[in-house]
């Protein structure tokens, strides 16, 4: 799988968070680089010394309300000046450089879109402002990509929340940007539209684009993102593949359910292993608690074979993004 979060030159992303299990070599063509960026408003620190670099792929930006996600996205979109550090898009500063927007598309969180324009009119406005040679064709392509063709000629003021969201996305896609930033893009979408948008983001990432989106809906992040950036209280709490992050948090218990030919015998054997600190029978299955993911996953098949127990199923019970995020926020 693509690993879009790259170590920065200073390696600060890795210091700020549990490092990815297998750090990728530095990528000189990172589409987006955030280098020791802070942003404060008076005495309030909204973003605190964050560093990471993104290459092609879909990355989810996670964090509770007020964590600094939107501030971070606006810094990357060149809509806010960093108080310290720098944001680079394709190697050049994002702040006060309008030419950057040829490579960047942004879907802001605020719902407001010019209500007197039609969906097609809005996409065409974006295409004309991008200086595209054939704005009508570009607008039609973007409208089709977001599945809004049927309502393209209706004023946006009559749109549902989900339709407005798709119109905003069409406006951001119209110039085929290399980097796409989306602030809560799944808000207001019905399940079918969500699946469509997920597929769209994935296909765009597969074409080599860098996509970063914020969301509170962790299951969606888990389903669509290759990697996550977890932001808490303005700091980067974690960065990388979320399962890798999860495995690195060795001080956090991992739980597995195991179904085998002899759960009691296997449970006794596992309790003797130093990687396991709890085993109990729950609902006819063996529930194991371990502090060392790697040691346990190595020990389990060896112990099963040594005790002549057949393993039918081994499943992690808490390896959801929700549990990773909750743990990081509590820490």
């Amino acid at each position: 799988m693509t690993q879009p979060i790259l170590p920065t030159a200073s390696g600060a992303a890795a210091q700020a968070a549990p490092a990815p299990a297998e750090p990728t070599p530095p990528n000189p063509i990172a589409a987006l680089e955030v280098d020791h960026v802070s942003r404060w408003y008076g005495n309030v620190v909204a973003v605190n010394d964050i560093s990471f670099a993104l290459g092609a792929g879909v990355t989810g930006l996670l964090g509770p309300n007020g964590a600094g996600k939107s501030t971070l996205l606006h810094l990357m979109a060149g809509l806010l000046a960093p108080s310290a550090g720098r944001v680079l898009v394709a190697g050049e500063s994002a702040w006060r450089r309008p030419a950057m927007y040829r490579q960047v598309g942004l879907v802001p969180e605020r719902e407001a879109v010019h209500p007197y324009l039609t969906g097609m009119g809005f996409a065409r406005l974006n295409a004309r402002l991008q200086g595209l040679p054939d704005p009508d064709a570009a607008a039609a392509r973007a409208i089709a990509a977001v599945d809004l063709t049927d309502a393209a000629d209706r004023p946006i003021g009559t749109y549902s929340k989900g339709m407005r969201q798709r119109a905003k996305l069409a406006g951001a896609l119209v110039h085929d940007p290399r980097v796409l930033l989306l602030d809560e893009p799944f808000n207001g979408l019905d399940p079918r539209q969500r699946l469509h948008m997920m597929a769209l983001l994935r296909s765009m990432a597969a074409e080599g684009r860098t996509i970063l989106f914020s969301s509170h809906i962790l299951e969606e992040v888990e389903r669509v993102a290759d990697s996550v950036l977890v932001v808490y209280a303005g700091r980067l709490a974690a960065a990388g593949d979320f399962r890798s992050i999860r495995r690195l948090m060795t001080d956090r218990p991992h739980t597995f359910t195991v179904a085998s030919s002899d759960d009691r015998r296997l449970g006794s054997a596992l309790l003797a292993d130093p990687s396991v600190f709890g085993a109990e029978l729950v609902g006819g299955r063996l529930a194991i608690r371990t502090a060392d993911y790697d040691a346990f996953t190595r020990a389990l098949p060896q112990l099963a074979r040594a005790n002549a127990v057949t393993l039918f199923e081994v499943a992690p019970t808490d390896d959801s993004l929700e549990s990773v995020f909750s743990y990081l926020v509590r820490r």
Binding site: Y41, A46, N65, G66, A67, G68, K69, S70, T71, L72, L73, H74, A77, G78, L79, L80, A81, R96, P98, A99, M100, Y101, R102, V104, G105, L106, P108, E109, R110, E111, A112, V113, H114, Y116, L117, L125, N126, R128, L129, Q130, G131, G171, D183
Partner: protein, 241 residues
């Protein structure tokens, strides 16, 4: 400059909302209505006095205030300005397009009001001088007002209130008390320009000279455009958290 056209287009469409246009047309029609009433009541028509009192001192600044503060201020307020900011368009072009629309729309409302009111109330050989003099002065003065109020709306969300305070307090109440305020008054510069064009401007104190009037209006117009461009180039849009 090809991006200026879509900017002008979207700004015009935003400004021409039904409610705002009704308000503006009513405001611009006020001098015409007064002219009709004077005619109907058989009073002594004095085009110069009505144009000075109603257009230069009231209608022109208010029309320019409503249009100037809405041209970009309403988009900043409702969040749609972000779609203009995230484009590969130099911010001075955004300021220029918005100013062109505000200036043009102000002129489109104020100049016909002057011409119709003048024709209703004026007579004799001075009529052309009065109408043309006020029309040209208000074209320049209205442009300065619109540009100044537009720039104010880039700096503050309270532009409408501050603009109203400028027109009513600075140019209205204080101009009669403090002689020096007229050098910082778009109204006085407009009246000075009208006087230079041959209009007999009513008032107790002599109007500004033609040179000073033109200087004040040009500095206001160009300065406002430069300031708006400068501010937009550094314009920040905060995230939701």
């Amino acid at each position: 400059m090809s991006v200026v056209a879509p900017l002008v287009d979207v700004t015009l469409r935003g400004l021409l909302s039904r409610r705002r246009m009704i308000l503006l047309i009513l405001l611009a029609g006020l001098p015409v209505l007064v002219g009709l009433l004077v005619r109907a009541s058989g009073g002594h028509p004095d085009a110069g006095r009505v144009l000075d009192t109603l257009v230069v001192r009231t209608v022109m600044p208010l029309v320019a205030l409503i249009i100037g503060t809405a041209a970009i201020g309403s988009e900043i307020e409702d969040g749609t300005a972000v779609y203009l900011m995230i484009k590969p368009v130099a911010r001075w072009k955004i300021a220029l397009a918005k100013t062109l629309v505000a200036v043009g729309l102000t002129a489109a409302l104020v100049i016909p009001s002057i011409v119709i009111t003048g024709l209703l109330l004026g007579s004799g050989r001075d009529l052309t001088t009065v109408v043309v003099g006020y029309a040209i002065a208000c074209l320049v003065g209205g442009s300065a007002y619109a540009a100044a109020f537009l720039t104010l709306s880039v700096f503050t969300s309270r532009a409408l209130l501050l603009g109203l305070a400028y027109v009513l307090i600075w140019e209205g109440a204080l101009s009669g008390l403090l002689e020096g305020t007229k050098f910082l008054s778009i109204r006085q510069a407009t009246l000075g320009l009208a006087a230079a064009l041959g209009v007999n401007v009513p008032g107790s104190s002599p109007p500004l000279t033609a040179g000073v009037s033109v200087l004040v209006l040009v500095i206001t117009l160009v300065g406002a455009l430069l300031l708006a461009s400068w501010k937009l180039a550094r314009f920040e849009i905060r995230g939701g958290d």
